[in-house]
Amino acid sequence: MDHTRDPCPWVIFSDFGGAFSMGAIGGAVWHGVKGFRNSPVGERRIGAITAIKARAPVLGGNFGVWGGLFGTFDCAVKGIRKKEDPYNAIIAGFFTGGALAVRGGYKSARNSAIGCAILLAVIEGVGIGLGRLLAPPPLPQQMPASEQGSLA
């Protein structure tokens, strides 16, 4: 019921785009600094720009693939289970981690899947904990008596 997210099939595009942006901007920062530092003096600015042009879209693509896959599996799991709870994200994380490492064989895929599922479990748990922590306790609310007539 989160009004900031689109419902299920369309949210995959949003997730992909959001993750791509994160990867591209983060990659620009990271590879910019790396290219700057690893270039000879006098060519540092162009070295940074070259590194960014070469590598930041790649990192963005990697992040985007992760986000898109996660969104796909999340929607698939939601459709199958017909429930909305944190387990959807954990199962989707498991499949995402496995799918991304499947080229490395069974063991590598298994380890990556478990790691990604644990990461998402931690994220969901922190979300639940923060929601409870930051929820305002029921304060004595002032009920305005001015416009309320009386029964008698």
């Binding site: 709870d85 009920m143 008596a145 416009e147 029964l151």
Partner: protein
């Protein structure tokens, strides 16, 4: 690399061949690629030459005589005949070495190892690994060797570096500590209840020794830890009733698919619709009931919606933090509401919400956004009737309707029966008392309603008329002064929160910024507070 190794293997004693190596770095190979993963020698970082130069030939061979008990065995793990030959070659005692004084260039892999120069695999295999270990001291010192069955030491010529030995030791220490920790934690968590209060709090998990009792106590203690997340955020979700806003009854309403409905389309995005008659329903009933909007959506998501439904703060708002989480579902437990359970009615669409107190609930079907829906305002006559008749226990009223029946139609039927009976009674009275019982001419001159019309009203009709007058008055008031009230609220908010700046350091040291709550009312006003009704 490979060429250098082959050359070394074939004639490592041959100084000339060593000179023929392509580069000096390959003289002593820094990495062996063997079939066993344990055979890893550390990369040479520095040259360890503790021997004085006089004792060392310029090729790096030790020139001290070998100890006599060394048993050179020519068998090696590598199968080439070349290596077999050459491995045996340096071990054969040179006739010249019989004289112990003469420094004979012997290739003693053990001494080379002491000096930090790793030998080739064959050299190591032929001399060191196959030495018998009579005292067994080496096995006790080396955890990897100790793990291998005896007797296989002869065939197992693995080289175990000190790093591997340390890792193996650490792994075994960790394993033992984990097992011990788990057992210790189980024993500690499953210990008997310490105080009488604890024992009373858990009547079904008594003290005692036994695996089932232990397990019960462990699970009881662990669920207590999770109670912070599973139980409602406070024991009293609503404040104590005060005189200005006292209402005899409480109405708990769900939000999603009952009061509003949200829908997403590609063209318009998210849109939220209010149920037909919603504002009239809420405003009208707020004279008889305390209205609580209790939703299982989280606070950040649902608070903007309820803020729009309730701009003048006339209703209480409770969110997901006020629900109980059990079995993967959000349960609205009314016993946390700090109100008398016999005076609460809950209207909800989800079975899990009323699972704790199903006798207090009006069970409705979810609303799908249909603008022709009339279910909500159809409940008005029934709810007003209860309040008008000042019923003591609302649960009895709800029980009087058969399970699964539609309450508005049922109530309308009963209402029609009651009115028919009243009409019949009045007709009988009129017949028995004769004409003119209503006051006739005098009544019509004075503008009074004829008695029949007055008497045909049931008490709830009178209450309804008064209620509608109240509603008219309140809605007019809100229309005229609504903006002023909002402005005053905004100013009060600014007074509470305004001028407060917080920084990261202040957040960490002082916590979240607190509002400056205006001073409490004087003691005279406080004494007007009504006592909290006991359940």
């Amino acid at each position: 690399m490979i060429a250098g190794r082959a050359i070394l293997r074939s004639s490592h004693a041959n100084l000339q061949s060593l000179r023929a190596l392509p580069s000096p770095t390959l003289r002593y190979p820094t990495r062996f690629h063997s079939t066993s993963s344990l055979l890893r020698t550390p990369r040479l970082r520095r040259c360890n030459w503790p021997l004085p130069l006089s004792q060392v030939s310029h090729r790096g061979y030790a020139t001290t005589p070998l100890p006599k008990e060394q048993n050179p065995v020519s068998e090696t793990s590598s199968g080439t005949s070349e290596s077999a030959d050459s491995a045996g070659a340096p071990q054969e005692p040179n006739p010249d070495a019989a004289s112990a004084e003469e420094p004979v260039p012997r290739f003693d892999p053990r001494t080379l190892l002491d000096q930090g120069i790793p030998p080739t695999p064959d050299q190591y295999n032929t001399s060191l690994a196959t030495k018998p270990d009579p005292t067994g001291s080496e096995r006790s010192r080396d955890p990897i060797k100790a793990a291998q069955p005896r007797g296989s030491g002869g065939g197992n010529n693995e080289y175990v570096s000190s790093t591997d030995r340390k890792r193996a030791r650490l792994a075994s220490i960790l394993f033992v500590s984990i097992v011990a920790g788990t057992i210790g934690a189980a024993v500690y968590l499953g210990r008997n209840w310490e105080t009488q209060a604890e024992l009373d709090a858990h009547p079904d998990t008594p003290n005692g020794w036994g695996p089932l009792l232990f397990y019960n106590r462990i699970s009881a203690r662990l669920t207590e830890v999770l109670d912070y997340y599973n139980l409602p955020i406070a024991d009293k979700l609503l404040p104590d009733p005060i005189e200005e806003t006292y209402r005899p009854y409480t109405l708990v309403l769900s939000l999603e698919d009952m009061l509003i409905h949200s829908e997403w389309t590609r063209e318009h995005g998210w849109r939220t619709a209010k149920r037909p008659g919603l504002e009239y329903f809420l405003t009208y009933l707020s004279q008889y009931y305390e209205i609580v909007i209790f939703t299982s959506q989280p606070n950040p998501i649902a608070a903007p919606i309820t803020a729009k439904l309730d701009p003048y703060h006339m209703y209480y708002q409770l969110f997901r933090e006020a629900t109980k989480y059990k079995g993967g579902k959000y349960i609205k437990d009314l016993s946390y509401l700090n109100r008398d359970l016999s005076k609460i009615i809950m209207i909800d669409t989800k079975p899990e919400a009323w699972s704790e107190q199903p006798e207090n609930a009006i069970k409705m079907k979810p609303w799908n956004g249909d603008p022709r829906d009339k279910e909500l305002i159809a409940l008005l006559p029934f709810l007003e009737f209860i309040a008008a008749m000042q019923h003591v226990d609302l649960r009895e009223d709800l029980k009087s309707f058969p399970e699964g029946s539609h309450i508005p139609t049922e109530f309308a039927k009963r209402d029609a029966i009651a009115r028919a009976e009243l009409k019949k009674k009045l007709e009988e009275e009129r017949k028995s008392k004769g004409q003119g019982a209503g006051g006739g001419l005098l009544a019509s001159l004075l503008g009074l309603q004829p008695k029949t019309q007055r008497e045909e009203k049931l008490p709830q009709d009178l209450v309804r008329e008064r209620g509608q007058l109240w509603y008219d008055q309140v809605s007019r008031n809100l229309k005229e002064h609504g903006d002023e009230i909002l402005e005053a609220d905004k100013k009060a908010q600014e007074e509470m929160w305004g001028g407060q700046t917080t920084s990261l350091s202040r957040l960490l040291t002082e916590g979240m910024p607190q509002p400056q709550i205006p001073p409490l009312p004087s003691s005279e006003e406080q004494s007007k507070q009504l006592p909290v009704s006991k359940k």
